[in-house]
Each structure stands twice: as structure tokens, then as C-alpha cells.
Symmetry: C2
Subunit: 248 residues, 2 copies
């Protein structure tokens, strides 16, 4: 068995998320289709994360498991072969041979997500599906102050949408920064050892609530403590969210 | 008669250019439809330029000519009313009342276009329709040197696609710059008092030919002199082109 780790980026607009499902085209299905074309067999494809419908990835990893019978393509030629077989909104940046015990999901040390906001009273015609349009002036300083209160190891049970079956809701946020300027693009960048279902979109909605004066930085510790989803901010829409970095 | 100048931006991907035509949806038609909704009459709409199918605009101007019978909307409220009636890939930034002798096309002093290139061996999934993908490493310095040879007043007859009926092909290029870095986005910015049909796309293709060593900066004056379309570079595709700035 040959295990190949692919580094991808994709625009999530046209996809029902990463993971194969019955009711729509997914990134995983496209990768599997492309791999079948070039390797002459349909390999198992395992991703580093299950991104939701409409969510983007600037950096995403998945493995292909090839049998002895697969067409032999030198590792440094795989990215170009895959790109020729994939749709234009998915790119393969590189390929690397990995040991059998490497797992694209469980071997992750930490991941960084970005939530991208177009913060202007006028919508941006070029980022309709690539950034969340928020027209009122954001308070960058207040949001950044609040973001720092989330850093560290906490039980984030209140920052998870229902429909998830995880038992352990403790996660460690390594960093959480707010950058950019009101009037242009504003970015929330958050890195952690793992994320709960919709966690980044809820954390982002909570920072918006801080900007709107509905919550304060000082109230964040008790908000986390409450483990009460209804006390946090709204779940922002998927099209502003990017998986930005994956560290193994 | 009330003449209103609108400042727009639009993503050209979904449009058959600016100007109303029979075989597809145009930006002009959308502006007219939106104006009809909010003013209760369908006003004449005149644009600053006829952008081609797939071409974008970061700054574009058009006038609405309203009769006495049109709904009265204060000038500073028009942008918001128009935005609520327009599709999301067209934005109105502002509205301004103008004199009867102002003309959105003939009153232009100069315009600036940008040609945007994603210059990386790997395509960018997020700019498929927003930048031209050129995979080979561009020679920024050589292109910038060549661009300077185009600046000034010249007969650009060799830099025009057929299908245009203009008699005078002399135009004055005010500036022409190449910026960015190989590996990322590269921008050609060119300003002139007017442009011939496909002129920016042909100038851009000519700079690419310089980067490829097929032409040199020193050959530009004789290339212009020849007035021979076949000696210039290729016409690059429309989706990398932006009307960037319009100065009255």
C-alpha cells in the first residue's frame, strides 16, 4: 500500500462540504474521481477535517491509499496530474509519501481557521460568496480584547451547534487575533488543537456581539463557564469561513 | 429633467458586458430594471464605457435621466435604494446630481484599467473568474521596462481588435505600471484618455510576450510604428480585466 498525502486548496461555493454524502457534489468525491482517472483505481480518500457546505480551504490535506495495482506516478508528478483531472475550483499544491501510521485527521497538531468579513456599508461585488458582508462599523480593538479571553484550554460546550456527538468538549485555543480595518476586510484568525461543530462561526458571531455592545471582553470567562449556547453570539454564515492552516 | 450620476462596481462574470443587447443579461439592463423599481419609470441609462462580456469594474459611472414624473428620492438615499433593487454582484457606491451638459462618456478625462494575473504554477481556486492564470514565472522588470515605452501619445492602430469603426486611433497613455511578484498576483495598470477595442488586453498580451523573450522593450517603438496587429502579443482573456478608475 502506498499512502500519498495531498495538500489542497478549494473554493467551497460549489460544494456540499468536504465529506462524501448522498445529496450533492463534495470535494472528497471530486478528489476520488480525479484519482481514479489518473491511477486507474478508486482509492480510499481521508481528509483532515469535515468542512461544511460553502466553507473554503486555503490549506487542506487528504490521503489517498493506493494498492499495488495502481498506475505508478512519481510523487513529484502527482500534483500536476491531479490538477489536470480536477475542476478549477480545487487545486493540488503538492504530494508527499507517508508512513502507514500517519493519519490526516488524527495526526494534526493544530489547525487555524480564518473568518473573513467585508466590513463596509456597500457590499463588495467580488466577494459575495468569499466573505461575510457586515455593514456596520466594527470595533476592532474591542473584538481583539475579547478574542484574547478565549485563548487557553476551556470547555467550549456553549460554542457548539447541536447535531454533534462529541463527548469531550474541552479544546485549547493557541491564538485568536482580529486584524484589518473597518471599511475594508476584517479577519478573525483562530488556531486550536481541535474545533467543535460550528465553533469558529459561533466564536465569530460572539465577537460581532462584542462590537455591537451586547457582550464585553470581561463577560467572556463567565460566558464560557455557563456552557450555554444561547448566551453566545449568532452562528455566522459558512461563506466567510476558511480552513487556513494545518500543522502536523 | 433630473440627471443622476451613479458610481458603481460590478463583477462581470455573470454578464454579457455592460451595454444592453439582445442575447443576454447586461449590467445596463440590471441598472435600468432597478431604477424602474425605485423611481416608477424606466429612465435612459448611459454608461462611461462599454465593457465586454466577463470584464469587471471596480469603478464605473452611469447616468439616469429622470422625468418630472419619477418618484422623488433624495440624492443621498439613492445608493441604498438602488442596492436593495440590484443583484449582489452590482453595487452602487454613491449618487450625485449633474448638469444637463455632463456626459458620462464624453466628459471623461482619463480612465485606468487593471489587468490582473495569478502568476503561479498552481491555479488559485478563488480567482478562477477574477484573474488570468499564467503559470510560468513572469519577468516583472522586463515587462515594466517595456510598459514605459508605450507611455505618451501614439497611434495604437496595431493594438486594436477588428470589429471597431473608430477613425482616429491615436491615444495618449498617461502611465503604465507593472507591479506585484512572480508567485502571486501581478498587476498591469494603464491609464489613457481613451482606449481602442481590446487595447488593454492586447497591451497585456504584448507584455507577456516580452516576459517570454519573444519581444523586447527596445522593439516597442517600431512595433507601435508598424501599426500591425499581428506583430503585437495575444489578446488576453476578459476575466482578468478591470475598469479601475474613471476621472472626470
Amino acid at each position: 500500500m502506498r499512502k500519498i498525502l495531498l495538500k489542497l486548496s478549494f473554493c467551497g461555493t460549489g460544494y456540499c462540504g468536504y465529506q462524501v454524502q448522498n445529496n450533492g457534489i463534495t470535494v472528497q468525491k471530486c478528489v476520488q474521481d480525479a484519482a481514479e482517472k489518473i491511477f486507474g483505481e478508486r482509492p480510499p480518500v481521508t481528509g483532515c477535517s469535515r468542512t461544511d457546505s460553502g466553507v473554503h480551504a486555503r490549506e487542506f490535506y487528504c490521503t489517498l491509499e493506493l494498492s499495488e495495482k495502481a498506475n505508478v506516478i512519481p510523487t513529484d508528478k502527482i500534483y500536476a496530474a491531479m490538477n489536470s483531472a480536477l475542476p478549477n475550483d480545487i487545486s493540488v499544491h503538492s504530494a508527499e509519501e507517508k508512513d502507514g501510521d500517519f493519519h490526516p485527521r488524527y495526526s494534526v497538531v493544530y489547525k487555524e481557521y480564518e473568518y473573513l468579513i467585508w466590513n463596509n456599508r456597500i457590499r463588495d461585488p467580488f466577494s459575495e460568496k468569499l466573505a461575510f458582508h457586515y455593514p456596520k462599523k466594527l470595533d476592532i480593538e474591542a473584538m481583539n480584547e475579547a478574542a484574547q479571553k478565549f485563548v487557553g484550554k476551556h470547555d467550549f460546550a456553549g460554542f457548539m451547534s447541536s447535531g454533534s456527538d462529541v463527548a469531550d468538549t474541552v479544546r485549547e485555543i493557541k491564538y485568536f487575533t482580529v486584524s484589518g480595518e473597518a471599511g475594508g476586510f476584517v479577519r478573525f484568525n483562530v488556531a486550536a488543537d481541535g474545533f467543535l461543530y460550528n465553533m469558529v462561526r459561533i466564536l465569530s458571531g460572539t465577537l460581532i456581539a462584542v462590537s455591537e455592545g451586547k457582550l464585553t471582553a470581561d463577560s467572556v470567562p463567565s460566558l464560557i463557564e455557563s456552557k450555554d449556547r444561547s448566551k453566545a453570539g449568532a452562528t455566522l454564515p459558512p461563506h466567510g469561513l476558511y480552513l487556513n492552516k494545518v500543522v502536523y
